[in-house]
Structure formats: structure tokens, C-alpha cells
């Protein structure tokens, strides 16, 4: 199964990357872009039959390794 993991910084956490990109976009004329937040997208190939089980395992992996719970939120989608 293909599983998509979306990892984003928690709302109040500073995102220096996003801010730097926004500034450069403004300079390049994309003034309509008022905010940028940068996160990670992971695409996993997971062996397994049951969607719910696969989801639960990947969520566990997120908590254990893939995401940093102190600054990041994650979301798992089984495709």
C-alpha cells in the first residue's frame, strides 16, 4: 500500500525556511503570497492487507521516528 505522511511544523513554531522563501517570492513579484510554511511529505510503500492496521503502524512510526512531536504535527493518509 502507498501511504502518504504529511509533517508540518506546529502552528506557533517559527518557520525560518518558510519566511525566507516568502521574502524571496515577494522580491520576485509574487506579492500575493502572504505566508509560506514548509513541511515534509513522505511517501511510504508498506506491505499489508488491512488499511486500518497499516495506518495504525505508520502513525506509530510517526510518533516514534518520522515526526518530532515537540515541534511537528503529522497526518497519515493511506492512498
Amino acid at each position: 500500500m502507498k501511504v502518504e505522511v504529511r509533517i508540518s511544523l506546529k502552528r506557533d513554531v517559527l518557520d525560518p525556511q518558510g519566511e525566507a522563501i516568502r521574502r524571496v517570492l515577494t522580491r520576485l513579484g509574487y506579492t500575493e503570497v502572504s505566508a509560506v510554511r514548509v513541511g515534509k511529505l513522505m511517501l511510504l510503500d508498506v506491505e499489508g492487507e488491512e488499511r486500518e492496521h497499516v495506518r495504525a503502524r505508520v502513525e506509530e512510526a510517526c510518533r516514534e521516528l518520522l515526526a518530532n512531536p515537540i515541534i511537528e504535527d503529522f497526518e497519515v493518509r493511506v492512498l
Binding site: P16, Q17, A20, I21, V24, R27, L28
Partner: protein, 232 residues
Amino acid sequence: MTWRRPKIGVVRFPGSNRDADAMRAVELCGGEAVPVWHESEDLLGVTGVLIPGGFSYGDYLRAGAMAAHSPVMKAVRKHAEAGGPVLGICNGLQILLEAGLLPGAMLPNRSLRFIHKEVFLRVERDDTPLLGKLRCGQVLRLPIAHKEGNWFAPPEVFQEVERQRLIALRYCSAEGEVAEAYNPNGALAAVAGLTNREGNVLGMMPHPECRVDPFLGEPFGKPFIAALVEVS
């Protein structure tokens, strides 16, 4: 007779951090270093360009990506297209890649970590002005200091790179042997430096600018900076 020192523009981006080092190196090699601000639309009459190392824009998108879109890079491109010499070091090479002035792209180091290390380099070309002070097969020793130096090119691009002999430097052993064991970052074909087809643009990951003053170590970096000054 008056000796006029060639003017070398050292481009400064927000986040450049080896700009002052590059300027000193240029001066040591007899050039006049002229700082050129990233917002500048012209090159202030310089005859050669050095794009120094550092973390332009923090390398927060891809290394060199945001700097490649600075106003000054339009001027650098024009200068290069007119045959003017350009040397990009570390972040400078990354910027030249992102600006399309040299082929390929940089990926994060295989180890995913920043690496500072003395490496050996084998010279692959000596028939262009910027490499003219070196000999093919010569082995140099210089430090690398980067997190994204894993050069990559898709097969069709790589074929062209090989066909046109654009590889200028490769990582190697002290004896000059090129093998995976001596490749610090996973770069395709152990590429450490590249030139363009015309030979007037050279980009390299290792840092020649901190090995010009013999006081700081054997001056393996001098031929690069001196060549830039001489042909400018």
C-alpha cells in the same frame, strides 16, 4: 609603466560567509577585490567574478536556489555569456548550478550531514584559462565544508558532461585514484568541480580561498584564485 590590478567582483548575498575570505585571497593574488551586492544590477566594471561560499538565504530552500534569482545573477549571466571569467566556490557552485550556468544539480550529502574534511582532488582539465595553472592528473589537497555537495545529473545531461569534458576536478586518494572510498559526499562520478563548455565558468565544492596564504597551509588554492585574477 603602471600595473593595473584586475578588478574581481566578489558577489555578496545575504548569508554569504566566505566573502571576506575570498576578497583577501583575491588581493593576495594581486587582484583588486570589489564587493558586489546581490541587489546590484551591474557588475561595477569588474572583469572577473567570484561567487564565494556560505549559506545564501540560509540555503533554506535548496542550496543556492534563492540566490540564483538575485538581480546580480542576471549581470553575472551576461558577463559569462560574453566570455567573462566566473569562479564559483561551494555555495558559489550551487548558485551557478541553480542559475543554469553549469550543468546538473546538488543533492544533500550521502551522509545527510555537513562535512568538513581535507580531501584530495585530481585535476581533470588544464586546457581552459581558469585551470591553466594546473596539470591534468595533478593531485591537490583542499578542505571541503558543505552539506549539499552530492552532484547529480540525469543520464542525458551526464552524457553531455562527459562528452564535452566538463568535469574539472574529482575526489580521489592521495595517489590520485578515483574510487567510491574517496568520495566524501556521493557525488556522481566523484565530481568536485565543473566547467562550462567555453571554459570561462568554473565551479568547485572545495575551498581554494582559505589555502592561498601559505601561512595557513600548503597553498593548493592559489592556482585557482591566481588564474581568475590573471585572465580577468
